[in-house]
Symmetry: C2
Subunit: 489 residues, 2 copies
């Protein structure tokens, strides 16, 4: 299995990933360092992801809204640990005007137009939102408040990779305010579960989820929960996070409510988000050496129909092809007839294969005589012959079968490559091997052990996945927490 212009996974996994993105026309680097252009085909996948996720977010009783792109420097500084976590990587707006250079030939920043207070381009919106929430929330009647925002985010990154880590990216950030710790803890887990279900049902990704360690948690949170997916190279990809903010932000932004008994207290908060990083997880999880492989639910084109004809039978083949498209469209959306004249059928096969279209239907003159077409499924690249009469039902079932099969593969990979280990030599060997994967081990919670493990194997704690009792894989001390370790993207 290999395709012109795509590096194979075994040869160079990282180059393979970039090749897939390039050949499937998902995204490309822009002239702005670290910022990508999301191309139409890539953006169409993102729109499908958005649509599906939006339904699930609204089902939790959350409403969409929009807050400013800019955050005053002073807001940002209010929550002490929050600022430490984000200060390193900010785009700072200092001026608000340009002017012509003295020679009239160029343009430069107008130094007289300096802002009194610098503005930060949002690296996350807790501070600007919670300043507003402090005015929205006064009584128990205003709670719970559940807001979501779809927005662009900027974090200055030195090393970037399309979708996985870019200076600007797109995301959704949910922010909720509650009357009790119990209720906000419930929301944190509900968001985490929603992401894991979404990954399973829509992205065909089986994930692991749980609490993050102190060193890996969100700057300003009491606890962070993460969703982790395992890539084909055995590395872990953090897919989404859900934060229990406790009363940390409520206290600095003054979000207080009066309960039904007239008692005033600070509110309890959560925030949770997933980003265009999900695109990276989808691409890396399902694709093969021939190109992109997409779960049908998020595929912009679910079925492509390619007529194969000579000068003699062109009209006949095209007519049948159009009939077939019309027939399938009655039951399946996003069907495309590739009727381009100046391109060979072989080139078309190759192109849609690279773009990960779940089902390809080839219609040739000989097939028509037999009343059949050739159906190729992209997940397994299997070819079969299908009767035109029963095609619509078959395609519809096949799409659902592909979706299930991708999830099954993802689940099997996760299971096969998650190793429960209580011996540190074995632990290191696995994580330093080519296949890596997840290792489940007890850890005492001590930062020194976490650091030692990272030094030895590059692996970090991904999330807490179990209780019970065992010995810390590093120091041997008793522990009641089993953790997932992996080498992270």
């Amino acid at each position: 299995m290999s395709n012109k212009g795509i590096t194979s996974r075994s040869e160079n996994y990282s180059a393979w990933y970039l090749d897939i993105i390039d050949r499937a026309q998902l995204a490309e680097n822009s002239s702005v360092k670290g910022c990508m252009v999301i191309k139409p085909y890539g953006y169409a996948i993102w729109e499908n992801i958005q649509r599906e996720l939006n339904i699930r977010i609204k089902k939790m009783g959350v409403e969409n809204a929009y807050f400013p792109l800019f955050i005053p420097l002073s807001f940002f500084a209010k929550e002490a640990s929050h600022v430490k976590g984000f200060a390193k990587e900010c785009a700072v707006v200092t001026h608000y005007r340009l002017k012509e250079t003295d020679d009239g030939k160029g343009i430069e920043v107008d130094q007289s137009a300096k802002l009194e207070e610098e503005l930060i381009v949002r690296p996350t919106s807790e501070t600007i939102m919670y300043d507003t929430f402090s005015r929205w929330v006064t009584s128990w009647r205003d709670l719970p408040l559940k807001i979501n925002q779809w927005a662009n985010i900027v974090r200055w990154e030195k090393r970037t990779r399309p979708f996985l880590r870019t200076t600007e990216f797109l995301w959704q950030e949910g922010h909720t305010v509650h009357m009790s710790q119990e209720e906000s803890e419930k929301q944190v887990k509900e968001a985490l579960d929603m992401y894991m279900t979404f990954a399973r049902e829509v992205l065909a990704l089986e994930t692991s989820g749980g609490k993050k360690s102190e060193s890996e948690k969100f700057a300003g949170a009491v606890d962070t929960y993460g969703v982790e997916a395992l890539m084909q190279d055995g590395k872990a990809l953090q897919f989404g996070t859900s934060h229990d903010l406790g009363q940390n932000f409520a206290k600095v932004f003054g979000i207080k409510y009066t309960d039904s008994q007239g008692k005033v207290d600070y509110a309890w908060q959560t925030s949770w988000g997933v980003s265009t990083r999900m695109m990276g997880a989808v691409i890396m999880s399902h694709s093969d050496d021939l190109g992109l492989v997409l779960p049908p639910i998020i595929a912009p084109i679910k079925v492509v129909v390619i007529p194969i004809y000579s000068q003699e039978n062109r009209d006949e083949v095209m007519k049948i092809a159009k009939d077939i498209v019309a027939q399938i469209e009655a039951k399946v959306s996003d069907v495309k007839l590739d009727d381009r004249e100046y391109i060979s059928a072989g080139f078309k096969f190759n192109e849609w294969e690279k773009k990960g279209v779940p089902i390809r239907i080839e219609i040739g003159g000989r097939d028509i005589q037999k009343g059949t077409v050739t159906v190729v499924r992209r997940d397994s690249n299997e070819k079969s012959e299908s009767s035109i009469d029963s095609l619509t039902t078959e395609i519809s079932m096949l799409l659902s079968d592909i979706q299930q099969n991708l999830l099954k593969r993802s689940k099997e990979r996760l299971e096969k490559n998650t190793h429960t280990v209580d011996n540190y030599e074995e632990f290191k060997n696995i994580l330093k091997s080519k296949d890596k994967g997840f290792v489940k081990s007890y850890w005492c919670g001590n930062k020194e052990c976490e650091d030692g493990i990272k030094y030895d194997s590059k692996a970090t704690t991904r999330c807490r996945v179990g209780s019970g009792s065992g010995k810390c894989i590093y120091c041997g001390k008793e522990s009641d927490s089993q953790w997932l370790f992996g080498v992270a993207y």
Copy 2:
């Protein structure tokens, strides 16, 4: 007609507008100067507008994509007239890191993290997109290229007003590349027509459209076409624009293609956009002194059902109310049952009236005995009694009737307040009167006349609306162009 807390239009139109936005909970000022928070109810209207507009954009064969928020200063300077038009109002990113102050108590810009080249937060995306397009377009096979982007935009504004003029706003920007001037001119008009049809069919707004004058055109365009709506105070609101960019940008960014004969030429381009400013047009056009009035198609809640009960008949009334909601929901989306316990029915009437819900259904004990409910339509505030049996059909027809009625009103207002005038005294009197409106007059095209008119009456040319022959309203010279004049927002 007046409502607690809402200034009447006759008293102070501008205060009325702000009151509507506040009481309907559409948006509010944020702590960042000139930037607003779009609240859930306002954002839900915007989402409906987006959804409807997106369908129409895609029907023109346009695909969505996403380009960087930041534009390098040097890009911005490439097209000479473009930079002059936008340089005044830019947010400039100069640094990429913050650090703790020396006393460890605060935070400040890290002066050592200065960008080599400043980045501008996009005030429009021609330059960053066309830099990319120059790599996408090489052959006639790549054309036409039709891209749309939904994005946030920043233009530094001194005086802001929610939705109408804010430092940050949301918009869509379409950008197309063509092989011929003819084709790009067709696209410019297609986009203009699409906006006018959209305004009519979705926003219930009748508009005027046509070419803008030289002084009002987009910086960098050969020609700009605008869509103008007339507000209730007789002022003009520019609702959307469509630009014929000719080869201006193609030449500076090097967008060239090889035609089928092997000849290389610069491409022809267009760009066109509408923004959250549309929200302002909708609010100002339809609302009354009781609050917001919304066209049903974009109303987040189309029908609200309010049960009126006493302790005795609570269960019976609630049961019927729920049945009615279920019945209507089978045919109409976005139906809400307001079953809040701690709020009086009168308070609920008032709240949904202010929020512009098109239809309110009141269900009381006495009505139920008769098998009827009270139906109130928000456009005319008329009450009527309806039989529960035929309610669903009636509601569905009523929604369509409200949509049509709002458009009819808008059309009548536009017609009634558009005056064809060939006498300059009359011209000035109309535009300086309280009712203002549009004036249609011949104008010679001379900037001095345009400036003189503006000095005399504050009116500007809105767009060219007719040909023929007449005398310039200002200087009396022969002219073949009839223009629409108005006092603009």
